[in-house]
């Protein structure tokens, strides 16, 4: 256990980086995913097409490929950002596609009858989306979005591959010095599990809180 005490500082800092990446990319993915869904169900064909293409692209390209492209190809194109922000942006763009799919499944739970009722009352399309469809779709999508957030947190580990010093990268570094892979990566794994548990429990609580009374 000594090895963890001795390197507690860097490890905690790395854990902080992991959590920070997950939180910022998570919030951004939820916002962006909502926008993508709105475009996807809008009556404007161009927007629908773009949103569809967005989701298809990010769902069908591996995250590691995207990370490597962003870290090595973007600087070539003249866009030079620090590593961690680059990874956060890629994570947010990537997971937004999954968030959009989760919300879209929520949209499908809102009956067409309620949408017709809102149109019959004189709501514009935007009002009907904002007041009737989206609030109910988000409620139904809480648990699926929670699962996307757990996946996102696990996916932050891939940032280690492009040089971001987060939990997995720091564990790897520690292992190079101590050569105790089983112990070190088991502990790292348990920490990821704890993070997933926190997100899962949080999603469960939010779901109960916003549930529609029956």
């Amino acid at each position: 256990m000594n090895i963890f005490v001795d390197s507690a500082g860097p490890l905690l800092e790395a854990l902080g980086t992991t959590v920070m990446m997950a939180v910022i990319a998570g919030v951004a993915a939820i916002v962006l995913g909502t926008v993508v869904t709105a475009a996807r169900i809008s009556p404007i064909p161009v927007l629908r097409g773009l949103a569809f293409a967005y989701v298809q692209f990010f769902v069908n390209v591996p995250l590691l490929v995207l990370l490597i492209l962003a870290v090595f190809a973007l600087p070539d194109a003249g866009l030079l950002l620090p590593l961690t922000p680059t990874a956060i942006i890629v994570l947010a763009l990537y997971e937004a596609a999954y968030v959009a799919e989760a919300i879209r499944s929520g949209v499908n739970t809102v009956g067409t009858g309620q949408i017709e009722a809102s149109r019959a009352l004189g709501f514009t399309l935007v009002q009907s989306l904002r007041l009737v469809v989206v609030p109910q779709a988000l409620r139904a999508a809480v648990q699926p979005i929670g699962n996307v957030m757990i996946a996102l947190t696990m996916n932050t580990a891939l940032a280690a591959a492009v040089g971001v010093v987060e939990l997995t990268s720091e564990a790897n570094k520690l292992n190079l010095v101590e050569a105790q892979p089983i112990l070190i990566f088991t502990v790292a794994g348990l920490i990821y599990m704890a993070l997933a548990l926190v997100i899962g429990l949080g999603a469960g609580r939010i779901e109960k809180r916003v549930a529609i009374k029956r």
Binding site: G111, A117, R119, A120, G122, F123, K213
Partner: protein, 259 residues
């Protein structure tokens, strides 16, 4: 019916026409659901539309606020032709109340919120005024004690009365009822019909698609009988029920009246 009204201006002869359908045709794919439908509904008139299922009566009702688009012909509400989808149509829909078979209350909002949402959002009423009027309407339909409940906590009859209050909150010029009691348990039908009857008594212009012949007799000024997409017969309730002239209406009545 021979007059060639232009729709946008109110012709002298039909000064009180609230809803006017002229030569309306409607297709669902190759299925011709409304055939040559022309109908003028006066202000304060209560028109009950009856007919066998699949006769096009629900479609007729849904065309009046353009929830269904028509293939050809014109539909005007209070002298204004139905605009294409957009703000103008939203504005017109705000003046036409609609009550659905399946209530369609907003599941995530309380009953009072359901009633106040459109007045606040669409008409720009203050929250305070909208709530006061909403409560008065819930009082009128007899469910003021359910104001803070959610739709799923109410019985079907209570939900439908809430839906009527929601439509009335917009102070509509005309109310459309699309089989409002068809999804209700039998013991809840009368509580909804009572509200509708009182509304008719207050002079609301109403188009009611229903199978409730008792209501038609009691509240209708005119009964329209539809079959196979056409208006086959229109008459006062007394004449329609006691001596319908067309064989199809007679056959329809003989099937439903004994129950």
């Amino acid at each position: 019916m021979a007059s060639s009204s232009t729709g946008t201006s109110t012709p002298a002869g039909t000064a009180t026409a609230m809803v006017q359908l002229t030569d309306v045709q409607k297709h669902f794919g190759s299925h011709h659901v409304l055939k040559d439908v022309s109908l003028t509904i006066a202000a304060r008139e209560v028109v009950v539309v009856v007919g066998p299922s699949g006769s096009g009566k629900s479609t007729l009702c849904r065309c009046i606020n353009r929830l269904e688009t028509i293939t050809s012909g014109t539909i005007a509400v209070d002298g204004v032709d139905l605009p294409a989808e957009g703000r103008a149509l939203a504005k017109l829909r705000a003046e036409v109340g609609m009550v659905f078979q399946s209530f369609n209350l907003f599941a995530h909002r309380t009953i009072l919120d359901n009633v106040t949402l459109a007045p606040i959002t669409v008409l720009g009423r203050s929250r305070k005024d909208a709530r006061a009027e909403g409560l008065a309407l819930l009082e009128r339909v007899g469910i003021a004690d359910k104001a803070d409940h959610f739709p799923a906590q109410l019985s079907g009859g209570q939900q439908q009365r809430a839906a009527i209050a929601r439509a009335l909150a917009m102070k509509p010029k005309v109310m459309l009822f699309d089989e409002p009691t068809s999804a209700l348990d039998p013991e809840m039908v009368s509580e909804v019909l009572d509200v509708m009857t009182s509304l008719a008594g207050d002079g609301m212009t109403m188009v009611v698609v229903t199978h409730e012949m008792g209501f038609a007799r009691r509240a209708a000024d005119r009964v329209i009988f539809m079959d196979d997409g056409r208006i086959v017969e229109e008459d006062t309730p007394a004449d329609f029920f006691d001596h319908a002239s067309s064989p199809r209406a007679q056959a329809f009545l003989s099937k439903i009246l004994p129950h």
